[in-house]
Symmetry: C2
Amino acid sequence: MQARAKTTPDPIRSALSSENGIDFAIIELFFFAYRDFTSDPDQILEQYGFGRAHHRVVHFVNRRPGLTVAELLDVLQITKQSLARVLKQLIDTGYIVQVQGLKDRRQRELYPTAKGRELALALATPQSRRIAEAIRNYGPVEREAIEGFLRGMVKPELRVQVDELPGSKSGEGMRR
Amino acid sequence: MQARAKTTPDPIRSALSSENGIDFAIIELFFFAYRDFTSDPDQILEQYGFGRAHHRVVHFVNRRPGLTVAELLDVLQITKQSLARVLKQLIDTGYIVQVQGLKDRRQRELYPTAKGRELALALATPQSRRIAEAIRNYGPVEREAIEGFLRGMVKPELRVQVDELPGSKSGEGMRR
DNA sequence: TAATTTATGTCAACAAGGCTGACATAAATT
DNA sequence: AATTTATGTCAGCCTTGTTGACATAAATTA
């Protein structure tokens, strides 16, 4: 048997399977699902010359008008430099406005404009449509399970972020 | 009433809600869930000096050993230039090997090495753990609904990609 | 009241990873 | 033999995220 050059390691020909107790089914479904979930708004964003970072900002500012820069940073878990670039573009182009805080004049409360609201809806519509289609054959019990699963996927210490959004079940997040 | 300078549009102070028929509950849960789902492997990847793109490549090469470059491009829906950079790193560092195709000598079949397999498992383990925790209180019926939902989120024309993976229900994807 | 802390903003540089276009070689197909 | 295909390479650009540093105004604390 010919000795193999040691610089080229052996190929493994067997497929990695769930035998190791890994839930590849859901891992992969989740990956593909999210990929396609984001592809809908991506195409719309492109028309505006924006990207996902813009979408996230527009989304959360619409869902929580008046949230401060710091709050947005916390929700998005990004740095202020990252945010600043995108936020500036959205402000300069009229999708978001900043209002100095009344209680704390250092703060900048962020609000959507009418066109900002329009954009948020335009981006959310195909997403919602895809979801509706995906749960079309399920009832309230299954819906509950799906939401519970997704909620369970969120780090416990960050679940408050979900609760702080309006209409959320666990917080009725009107904490402003 | 004081006329407002036209250069600053009006802030909308009301929160965007589900009244427009948009399913913000699942939209947001999905965003946060995926964010945290990827954060586990991200930390491991960092130790290897790799990123998400590497993870995806290692993952699918392990799940479908022998898949060609073109097949991987199709699964990942990225350009060959994008893939080339990451693939080269994984090959150069010994996680993946290329084998010239027997039937078509132009092709390059991609296989994991032992360390490539190890890496794939290391990355999938915390993901699987998070999933297990999120579905802990659910039974087979709910699990079915969750998988069905995720599957339904995938573009119909791309669902074959899920089916082509080993252990998948709808395809028993051993099509190599 | 002064010192310290905090909210926001800016500058700068770098990284990861995705894209487009162009070109090349070897192998397969027509 | 001509054409097409699989892969690979070069190059440049873009988006979005990071780090570090510094600044100003406002709030809080000593």
